[in-house]
Symmetry: C2
Subunit: 401 residues, 2 copies
């Protein structure tokens, strides 16, 4: 596998652009466009929130056809809780884009992220969309990635290439999302493209699987926003042999897609709002993978564990308490907890102040690993998470004002 | 119903005391004793955490007999994750108490709250318990309430009396817990006593029901600690007629017990760590009470909703997003949200900036109501919750150091 730059536009046949459309108050990029030069097979994974934003509803309908050509996505406004007007606006956004590109409106998908409950400034979008289309470029991936940022402090792009089905196949993507995942800003948008040739069913299955191993491993735990989406376009330009299901080529493609999605997810975790610590949390020794994931999510969602990380305190009691309420069967006397390579708990008992002091050194780092061994089986799961800091409160108490 | 002072010692036949046993570093009360002058029927509700502390395990065994005489509870040390030694220590605490009081060790229940994973200073307990027993007093409720406090900033006591079964019956209680509920400090201890005469089965059922309407309405949502417990002793001294199940006397007793538990729960919410806002959250119009409770808990557990309260921002989008991911069936277009008496959302749509400005005035208060109407049925639930402030982070990042 070769790592590439350029994000989504590293993929042959994919162009992108970003523009400052005036949706955000300040003059920054807030509207992104991604276009495939030919018809692409399309798949999507969407929020399970029962208050879905208009673009989510629209895209879910459009994806029933299983193909698409373009994605238009804005930041600064979620177009959520906007009723029928919001849906009409999303439909119009797609129509405007289709007109600018000479496509059918059904070929266009829409994404939005930002404040909930405000109507989109459609006048500005009507002016901006043709100008945006005129900027499309095979180097436009970074601009598009910038244009979907909200409280993100870093641009999130990833791309990689591997030989699959006898041909070089590329997967590239962009994403937005700030680790703590906050529903009112549409949490997470991920747009991925590939030149692999595969069926719609194969793509949907592969994207679902990649999402489960990446974006669903952020500490969200059902905390899906109104606007979450991951979409993948596959334009087939690589001309690879058909990927026979379960065969080595299909597995290689899955690996490539998994890699790109995982890299994007890790960037989201790294960019956690106000985060001072980035934690790679592994739970192993569970009875099942699902048990391991539940325990990992419970630890990663504990405000008490997260504030202890912020305080650089190897407070393993809070981790034990989180494990105990994760809703899976455990045996306290078999639990081991290790920060980096420093064990602090063995067989459910603390290893004393000197072990905690050693672990404290690990906790002073910007990034560290935490391993919980339940000692019961072979189930294993990894999540990426971060601490809960004063700045998180500051950002979220003052956002919108 | 008459409201009484004195907490648990407002109940005839109940004496209590507190002492500074030296379990905490500073010279403050940290050991409490509650004693009934005669055999009492006893019931308990315990944490569902699978890493239960030693006192939880001990009490669960002892309560199988359904009667008890005394409760010894310490703060400053949770006696959790302390293995066999911890259990032996809890057994010894009960034995020491029994000896000091001339009781059988089986008559004594134990509670602990504080730091996880450290052995109790048993030498100090051996010295303190006889001195504590010598202090027992019919006015000792407040000292006992103080002695179980950890980060609590207020003493939590409640008592009330009503005529039941032809006789005045009293219920009184004490509790500790700081609203945000943090597992490593054993979250919540509640000790309630009554002079009502009733069976063990009746008491257990009534306590379970009262707990569900009170302590389980704090924003914990499964976030049970290793040490949570609510225990009730009923010494029968009121000499009331038997409470026939489902009859008016049983209902009146339930009302009295509910009242005391609810008052204690509200005090815990009020005393939330670092909290600047206290919120009475009602969800109504749900299909079922269970649906209403799920929605209320999801809102009350949302860091984003809580930081918006801290920021005094009537950000209803975050509430909508929380409703949408509560895991119950809803219809976005029927949702109404009201702060105090100011509607901000009707039929799923925001009522505009002027409504939000009005609501903003409500949010400036120290205490306010929030009503969510799902518009689907008659299910209703209330929880008490608080905001998430900078001080919460400060307290929990530095606690232990």
């Amino acid at each position: 596998m070769h790592i590439l730059t350029g994000g989504i536009t590293a993929v042959p046949g994919i162009r992108a652009a970003g523009i400052a459309a005036g949706i955000k108050k300040t003059d920054v990029l807030d509207l992104a466009l991604i276009v495939s030069e030919c018809d692409a097979v399309a798949a999507g994974v969407f929020t399970t929130n029962q208050v879905p934003a208009a673009p989510v509803l629209l895209d879910q309908r459009r994806l029933r056809r299983g193909k698409s050509r373009a994605i238009l996505a804005n930041s600064g406004n979620a177009n959520a809780c906007t009723g029928r007007r919001g849906y009409r606006d999303a439909v119009e956004m797609a129509a405007l884009t289709a007109r600018a590109l000479g496509l059918s409106p059904e070929d266009v998908l829409i994404g939005s992220t930002g404040v909930i409950g405000k109507p989109l400034p459609m006048e500005r979008l009507r002016a901006a969309i043709p100008a945006l289309a005129a900027r499309l470029h095979s180097d436009g991936g970074e601009d598009a990635a910038r244009a979907i940022m909200t409280t993100d402090t870093t641009v999130k792009m990833s791309a990689a290439r591997a030989t699959i089905g006898g041909r070089p196949v590329t997967v590239g993507g962009i994403a937005k999302g700030s680790g703590m995942i906050h529903p009112d800003m549409a949490t997470m948008l991920a747009y991925v493209a590939t030149d692999a040739k595969l069926s719609r069913t194969q793509l949907q299955k592969a994207l679902r699987r990649a999402t489960n191993q990446s974006f669903n491993r952020l500490p969200v735990d059902g905390d899906t926003s109104t606007n979450d989406m991951a979409i993948c376009l596959a334009n087939g330009l690589a001309g690879n042999r058909p990927l026979s299901p379960g065969g080595p080529d299909a597995r290689r493609f899955q690996g490539l897609l998994d890699h790109v999605c995982r890299e994007l997810a890790k960037m989201i975790a790294w960019d956690g709002e106000g985060a001072t610590k980035y934690v790679e949390l592994v739970v192993k020794g569970a009875r099942t993978e699902s048990d391991a994931l539940k325990v990992a999510q419970t630890i990663a969602n504990s405000n008490l564990v997260k504030t202890a990380w912020f305080g650089q305190d190897a407070n393993w009691g809070r981790i034990m308490a989180a494990i105990g309420r994760a809703g899976v069967r455990i045996n306290q006397e078999r639990i081991g907890i290790t920060y980096g390579n420093v064990p602090v708990v063995r067989r459910g008992l603390g290893l004393g102040p000197s072990a905690e002091d050693h672990a404290g050194v690990i906790l002073k780092q910007r990034e560290f690993g935490l391993t919980v061994d339940l000692g019961l089986g072979t189930g294993k799961a990894q999540v990426w998470t971060m601490d809960l800091s004063m700045d998180y409160i500051k950002i979220n108490a003052s956002y919108r004002s």
